[in-house]
Each structure stands twice: as structure tokens, then as C-alpha cells.
């Protein structure tokens, strides 16, 4: 039978479109406008063309912050996604422990970013913090304010502590949605634990994993508050990620033109990566025609 196409339903998305226009499209347009001009405040603008884009593209500072950010996102995704899956697999499926587990897992997600940063700032201090003190007692020369590697480990640990539970909860939602019949069929076939995971659980978690990867990538690529509170982007510039650099440029130096150009390039990179992740994960395992 011929399928009926009725596009009138698209009008239903008009309210969302208006909301997105006010919250995202108009600010984005403004940033584009700023990126081709220079301003000294008081709503006075001077045409600069593509000058700021050229400056940002050639800037060593931008390149370094970009690589730092990509490395950070890669590390946190490489830790959080497998760890989240393992935690979700280990979580109970029935009984009172389910609620307890869900509440405990949700707790880190409820803590505001700056509070997480403050908690870890104290936690990592050698004089009063449990982590810093323990590390020192074990003979490690741990100091996140002096050593770039320690600063990196601390920032990665913060992100893993804060956001792995989101991945675990998403995976758990995917796991509990798998009908029992799949497991029964696997049991009849004598499938191993690995085979059950590889051919039943993992494919069924595909969609939630897509959401987890997208959310975690975008969020880690835009990380600002935790490193700002804990390390302030240092020592040196070792934890100065793109967003920290952007804020320094826009608010610290009031270089609105270059900051706007950097924002647009930053936005395009996020858009590209998100599209790649989305496309790869939505097409994974589908039959090609």
C-alpha cells in the first residue's frame, strides 16, 4: 500500500523551534556577527572581515588548547564508557537494592559543577585532603597545583567521578529494557556470558550508548568549571582547555572579536564530532543496501 505523507505534523515542532531560536540561534547569529568585527564596547563595531579567524587558526595557544581538549575527551570517554557498562552489568535487577543503587549512582550527578570542583580541590590537598594526604603517606609526590601530570590525573578523576554514573544509568536503562526471552533463548543455545554480552546486551544498548557517548563527548569537550575551580587552567597552561581559554579571551582580555571567531570554530568542531559519532553509531550493525 502506498504510504501517505502528511507533513502537517511538522507544525507541532514550531514552539520548540521558537524556543531554540531564542536560546540558541539568535545568540549564535550574534556570535557570528561579532566574529567579523572589532569592538571597544558601547555598541560600536568596526568591520574586521576574516582577520580574527586567520588569527585564531594560526594561534599556537588555540592549537594547544584544542589538542589538550581532544586528549581529555578521549581519555574520559575511554574510561567512562567501559566503566559505565561494567557498573551497569553489575547493578542488581530486582529487590530493594535496585532503588539504593539508583539513588547512590544518581548522587554525583546532582552535585553542581563548582561544588564538585571545590570538593576535589580540598580532597586533593596534601595538608588537609584525604586523597592528597594518602598519596603523600604512600610515598607519591602528588601535588596538583605544581605538577602538570598530577593536575591532569586530578581533572580526569573528577570527571570520571562526576559523570560515570550517567553512563552507567543510561546503560542500565538499556539493559533492563531487554526482554527476558532473549536470555532464555541464549541459555537454550548454551551461550557463554561473553556471547550474551556481545550479541544481546551490547547491540541492545547501542542507542543508549550513542546518547552516552554524545553527551559525554560534548560535555567533556566543553569542560570549564571543574578545572577552573581546581587548577585554574594550570600549572602553567597544562589544564587550560578551550572553554577556559575562550573565557580568558572574551572576559579577561575583552577580545570579543577573536573570542567569537574561536567560539565558531569550537562550535564547528563539536558539530563535526557529534555528527560523526551519531552517524557511526546509528549505522553500526545495520544492513547495507
Amino acid at each position: 500500500m502506498e504510504k501517505t505523507w502528511n507533513n502537517k505534523a511538522w507544525f507541532m515542532v514550531l514552539p520548540v523551534l521558537l524556543l531554540v531560536a531564542f536560546s540558541a540561534v539568535i545568540p549564535l547569529m550574534t556570535v557570528v556577527n561579532y566574529s567579523v568585527q572589532d569592538t571597544f564596547g558601547n555598541n560600536q563595531f568596526f568591520w574586521a572581515g576574516t582577520e580574527w579567524y586567520k588569527q585564531i587558526l594560526a594561534s599556537e595557544r588555540f592549537h594547544e588548547a584544542l589538542w589538550r581538549n581532544l586528549l581529555f575527551s578521549f581519555i574520559v570517554l575511554a574510561i567512562e564508557i567501559p566503566l559505565g557498562i561494567v557498573i551497569a552489568l553489575a547493578m542488581p535487577r530486582k529487590g530493594w537494592t535496585v532503588s539504593l543503587c539508583l539513588v547512590l549512582m544518581a548522587l554525583p550527578l546532582l552535585i553542581p559543577w563548582n561544588v564538585v570542583g571545590t570538593i576535589w580541590q580540598v580532597f586533593g590537598r596534601v595538608d588537609i585532603g584525604l586523597l592528597g594526604h594518602t598519596m603523600e603517606a604512600l610515598g607519591f609526590d602528588y601535588n596538583y597545583t605544581q605538577d602538570p601530570l598530577d593536575a591532569w590525573i586530578t581533572v580526569v578523576l573528577i570527571d570520571v567521578w562526576h559523570w560515570t554514573s550517567l553512563v552507567a544509568l543510561l546503560c542500565y536503562a538499556g539493559l533492563v529494557a531487554i526482554p527476558e526471552a532473549y536470555y532464555q533463548a541464549a541459555q537454550i543455545d548454551g551461550a557463554s556470558r561473553w556471547a550474551v554480552f556481545r550479541y544481546i546486551q551490547l547491540p541492545k544498548m547501542n542507542r543508549v550508548l550513542l546518547i552516552a557517548v554524545l553527551l559525554r563527548f560534548m560535555d567533556s569537550f566543553m569542560i570549564y568549571t571543574e578545572p577552573f575551580v581546581v587548577t585554574g587552567g594550570g600549572p602553567g597552561n597544562s589544564t587550560t582547555f578551550l572553554s577556559i581559554d575562550l573565557v580568558k579571551m572574551a572576559i579577561g582580555q575583552f577580545d570579543l572579536g577573536p573570542a567569537a571567531a574561536m567560539s565558531i570554530i569550537y562550535f564547528l568542531i563539536i558539530l563535526l564530532f557529534s555528527w560523526i559519532f551519531y552517524t557511526v553509531m546509528t549505522n553500526a550493525g545495520q544492513d547495507r543496501k
Partner: protein, 93 residues
């Protein structure tokens, strides 16, 4: 309504009007030929006309940035390459 805070310029206004017209023309195209024209192209992924426009625009942005970063500020060639790229995307992706 005072929109001076948005710091509009003619080139940026023209840029956004072009994007808006492209999206509107996709709507008209969809009206006369519904279904999105979904197909599997050279990337071996299913794309609709909207996907192809998105790939064209995103690719064009990177073509312009690459041209600006590697060659120079004269972006007319980058625009020409972007047109050719968009045609290829609409034809084969």
C-alpha cells in the same frame, strides 16, 4: 525593535538569509517530493536531502576555514570549491 546589540552587518545578514532560503527551499522540495529522498550513497550510510544539506554546509564551513588557514583571505575560491563539494554530496552521498 532595537537590534543593535546583535551587531548586524550586510555580509553576515546575507549569509543567514542564504541559509534560511536554503532551508526554506528544502521545505518546498519536500512538499513537492515528499519522503526526504532517502538513499544509500558512497558513504554507505542512509541520507535524506536534509542530511545532504547538513553535510554540504558543515563541509563548506571547514573548506572555508582550511582555505583561510592554509592559503589566504580571498575566499571566492573556497566558495567555488564548496559549491562543487555540495554538488558532489547531493549527487553521490
Amino acid at each position: 525593535m532595537d537590534l543593535s546589540w546583535m551587531a548586524w552587518t550586510w555580509p553576515t545578514a546575507l549569509f543567514f538569509v542564504t541559509i534560511a532560503l536554503l532551508i526554506a527551499s528544502m521545505g518546498v522540495w519536500e512538499y513537492y517530493s515528499p519522503g526526504g529522498g532517502a538513499r544509500y550513497g558512497v558513504l554507505r550510510i542512509e541520507t535524506t536531502r536534509g542530511d545532504r544539506l547538513f553535510i554540504s554546509l558543515l563541509g563548506s564551513a571547514f573548506i572555508h576555514l582550511a582555505w583561510l588557514g592554509l592559503i589566504g583571505p580571498n575566499l571566492w575560491w573556497a566558495l567555488a570549491i564548496s559549491f562543487a563539494y555540495a554538488l558532489c554530496v547531493f549527487r553521490w552521498v
